[in-house]
Symmetry: C2
């Protein structure tokens, strides 16, 4: 440590003797240290590491042989190598069962969600074939069931159809869907590659609860339109209070894992039964619309459908980013949920790359946006899935369907697809979570409502933007108007705590002890300066009224001041100057490392003088009191 | 306090006896309190008060008679009533001297700055007459000298002339200037009325240093063009390294108050001398351009010039907001600087209203944007100004000039006006402040450079927006990637401090003590959870290597966690669950009031169990160690 440190460490030593003479508790005085010296480069490196590599991805590679490093590298690129070598028949049996179970869910859902995105039903099946295969090689979650999901389908459908009609311009619409999917994948993979995963943290749970509920209401209304045959239903997705009539059955079965097979089997069962019914009465009625002809065969390539011309590029990019971030958030959250349940780790950045590459590959093989679905992953876990092989089994089942079973869906009524969508999305309305937000944190509830009503009445991207904006403003407001607390001593201890909160805490005569609960930044330094001066005024008024001992010293407990900038430093300077004019001393207690360093660099430490800096409030109080006593002051 | 509080207060009492049996330091265990119960409305009211009324403006009105309340109300609306009654001849003498001094500065500067804004020179004089009169009645600063300033003039000039040519469309240009001034005033007054004054805090000193320097470079280059007679100089304001050749003389005299009269007198002296010279040689040369005819008479009304038609409204509003916020920032900063120097208070919100009304009135009387100028206020203080009457004296001097002396400026050469502008703006380049930013805070320096280069190479509003954006991202980054520190005990004390910073601090066997230095929000809860698990892994590796005692407990010091939201609470839950699976206990220490309240509401306190919450790290360590000992664990 440098020269400066020593000088500061020495500062308090002359005070030790004085303190020892004090009549009150004898407290040893400790010096406040500077943090170990670091160059700007070292600091930048650490900061950079904290921001981009918080998981220290190279940790495992240290002290390994070259051979091991190559194996570890392969394993981290393709997680399949991690578990592939230990894979056995027992695991395979579990995976086959769970894989077939989720396939029975994935096929009807695939067809329905594609309709939700205004795409041909077959695209939903294509999207349940290629992406799961890619994910099983690249993904780090063992339980994620990959395929189209309702939110991303809905968002893509509503954003694209605002500009291009899916019925009149169906080829252009399809091209834009694939192009958006490509951009979604590119965006997702870039977030992972650039290690900017924290971006999805800004979609907090509160936002997602509101957003999903809002989106679910929109979809429900759209599907009710189909279900009830109302033709002149407004297409612009506005809120009509019909929602309450629909009964929330599906979420019940999700909450009772033993009943999972109901939710797993019912979509396929209803498709089979309704198709049979329609087939039987096909000559009697023409009122029921059904899917009709679906092409047999594997995913056709769609690289030639990617459409980068200027006319609709902005729309494709915007849709890609919004669906990309939403599906990413869902995929990562689902992966994390089940990883935590089964006690393993998923790596956020790696998952982003896996989901991103899977969507980029999907966009070239006639798939639209896919991610890990919550409902299917839950079924997957409950059916006993052990590894990503269950995704491969599911993809194989879809393959068989694509190759041989497509004609069977000819008579599947559209009505049953609407019903599948409806039950899926209504389960997404998590009013209990919203109620819990209200109870614990009113502001989080407000954010949730912002995203709910924003999505419902404004638009999907703007609704999300409003909610994220509100969350960011909350952080800024917390920094702009931080709390300051008046501390008192808990008798018989060296503990100083909030006077308002601890009734046993009492003021120390002659001192005003304030704790600042925020970093000191340009955004709050004027406010804090004024607020501290107001605390001083109020304390002096109180003293006058009660004929207490005169105020002589303001102690600022800086424990919670986690950072400071040049404006903050100037505010401390200025505060000290203004307090001095009123013959009051300013004392700083326990500045954290980075704050201490900056205070030192700006020479404020020297200007505060010998007794301007202490390690604890207790030491400051006892040292200053004994100094005053030694000088014969009251 | 409610039922919940008592239960929590009781929690630690069974531990007291165990602790007393401990072989190590006997520490009394204190319970963690909930803050006093408040309804949502009370909390909202307090929060609202903190955000909008941090100065408690109604404080003075409490316990007053009705008559006093009326007087106090008048005084707070028109500060002139505060000092008006004590005004005497002695004060007046000081104010006359200082008023005449600043008038001698204001007249040439008014003409020059109007040219900077591409406005007729006479508008600069008009703007030095009406606004000072209004400010002297409404303003709360005694030393602010009001009039046109360089930055706002330059910004208005460059923003308006990008769309409208001041030479070809001079009437439209003038209309837009008055309309922008009106919007600037409206914006300023609204900020004050809505008590949103903290908005200007976001223009930190770092931003302003960079911005002013960038703007000064732009102006210098523009004026050098005029000065050197270069016609084909690029009009789009780009950086050419000619700046260094110009010598910074003016700022020297500002730093030595005794020499203030040089800076005060030199502009007028140079105008007088140069005008005389040009007058004498008027027949010999035609190469020198001079001002020419200026209309005599008072400010003509300009309400009819306010131009609210759609064509240029957006431009006028944008220019108004940018010049409004810049001039407001300058005015408030200058007012605060001199108030603090002379030890009185200026009220931010009241100043905003004063400056805002002054500009709205100005826009109706042929004035453009005005505010408190740093250079003239400094001269004002040095010349001995005592009250706002010095502004009235200055306005009277301008009045006399407008009525009788305008013909004298006929032969004033434009060259000398360019020279006045140059010396004024070059003094604004505060490279020493930039160097200090670099030394103390690299990020502030970066912000400063962003605003410097943004203004220079992009544009005035975008440059400012970039710099503010960067500052906000800094705050968000600080919250998104907060510091965590490993704490150790300073032997022989109950003090726990950073192991890295305090060499004497040592680890407590069996414990990992971590301090989180940030609120726990959606934006950082995933990161913190992973980071804490990584700390645990690293600690366990260290223990394995050194054969230390096994890790049994993670202590989270929450002192600096100033706030928490529902995502943060869930992260604590999840962290506890994951640590439990590794047979590790999670203990929270000293959560602040609002955090404690939310933890309580979300039932996490109950789930943490009896020994999951302590007031200090020391109490947690000694209580847990003695419990383990009582159970015969190592």
């Amino acid at each position: 440590m440098g020269h400066g440190t020593n000088r500061i460490e020495d500062m308090s030593s002359p005070n030790n003797e004085t303190a020892a003479n004090a009549r009150e508790t004898v407290v040893e005085i400790h010096s406040v240290c500077l943090p170990p010296k670091k160059t700007t480069f070292q600091k930048l490196k650490k900061r950079f590491g904290d921001v981009f590599f918080p998981d220290d991805p190279l940790e495992r590679f240290r002290n390994q042989t070259w051979r091991n490093k190559v194996i570890l590298g392969l394993q981290s690129l393709f997680p399949i190598f991690t578990w592939g070598s230990q894979y056995d028949l027992k695991l395979f049996r579990s995976d086959v069962i769970s894989g077939l179970t989720i396939a029975s869910l994935a096929i009807p859902q695939g067809i329905s969600y594609a309709k939700l995105a205004n795409l041909p039903p077959i695209v939903g099946l294509y999207s349940s074939f290629v992406p799961p295969l890619i994910y099983s090689v690249l993904g780090s979650s063992k339980h994620l069931a990959v395929g189209p999901v309702s939110i991303a389908s809905l968002v893509m459908g509503s954003m694209l159809s605002e500009s291009v009609s899916p019925t009149q311009d169906s080829i252009l619409y399809l091209k834009l869907a694939f192009t958006s999917t490509f951009f979604a994948g590119l965006f997702q993979a870039s977030l992972g590659l650039l290690r900017l995963g924290f971006v999805i943290d800004f979609l907090s749970k509160a936002i997602l609860v509101g957003f999903t509920a809002g989106a679910a209401v929109i979809v429900s209304l759209q599907q009710l339109k189909g279900l009830l045959g109302i033709v002149h239903f407004t297409g612009k997705m506005q809120f009509v209070p019909v929602m309450s009539s629909v009964i929330n059955t599906r979420s019940e079965s999700m909450r009772k894992p033993k009943l999972f097979w109901i939710s797993a089997a019912s979509p396929l069962a209803s498709v089979v039964i309704s198709t049979l019914l329609v087939y039987l009465i096909r000559d009697k009625t023409h009122a029921i619309s059904f899917i009709g002809h679906l092409p047999k065969g594997l995913n056709p390539p769609s690289v030639n459908m990617l459409y980068f011309s200027a006319a609709h590029l902005a729309l494709a990019i915007k849709t890609g980013i919004i669906t990309g971030i939403l599906s990413l958030t869902e995929g990562i959250a689902v992966g994390r949920t089940f990883a935590s349940l089964k006690n393993y780790q998923v790596n956020g950045n790696k998952e982003m790359m896996a989901i991103g590459f899977m969507n980029m590959a999907g966009s070239c093989t006639s798939c639209y946006v896919t991610t890990g679905s919550f409902s299917r992953s839950a079924v997957n876990v409950n059916a006993g899935a052990k590894t990503a092989v269950s995704n491969i089994v599911m993809a194989s089942a879809v393959l068989v369907t694509l190759l041989f079973l497509m004609p069977l869906f000819y008579y599947t009524p559209n009505l049953i697809l609407a019903a599948i969508i409806l039950t899926a999305v209504i389960g997404l309305i998590d009013y209990q979570a919203a109620y819990k937000l209200w109870k614990v944190d009113k502001f989080d509830f407000f954010t949730c409502m912002c995203s709910f009503f924003g999505v419902l009445f404004v638009s999907v991207p703007l609704g999300l933007a409003i909610a994220v904006g509100v969350s960011v403003i909350k952080i800024l407001l917390h920094v702009t108007r931080p709390n300051t607390l008046e501390f008192g001593n808990i008798p018989g201890t060296q503990i100083y705590q909030s006077l308002k909160r601890y009734r046993e805490a009492s003021r120390v005569p002659g001192f005003l002890i304030l704790a600042v609960e925020s970093p000191l930044y340009f955004a709050n330094c004027t406010y804090l300066q004024e607020r501290i001066l107001r605390w001083t005024r109020e304390e002096e008024n109180r003293i006058k009224e009660n004929n207490d001992r005169n105020l002589k010293c303001i102690i600022l407990d800086m424990t919670a001041v986690s950072s400071i900038d040049t404006s903050g430093i100037e505010a401390v300077f200025e505060l000290r100057r203004r307090l001095e004019k009123q013959s009051l001393q300013l004392v700083l207690v326990n500045p954290v490392g980075s704050v201490m360093e900056k205070l030192h660099k700006s020479k404020i430490i020297e200007s505060l003088g010998l007794s301007g800096l202490y390690l604890t409030v207790g030491e400051a109080v006892s040292d200053l009191s004994s100094t005053w006593k030694a000088h014969g002051q009251p």
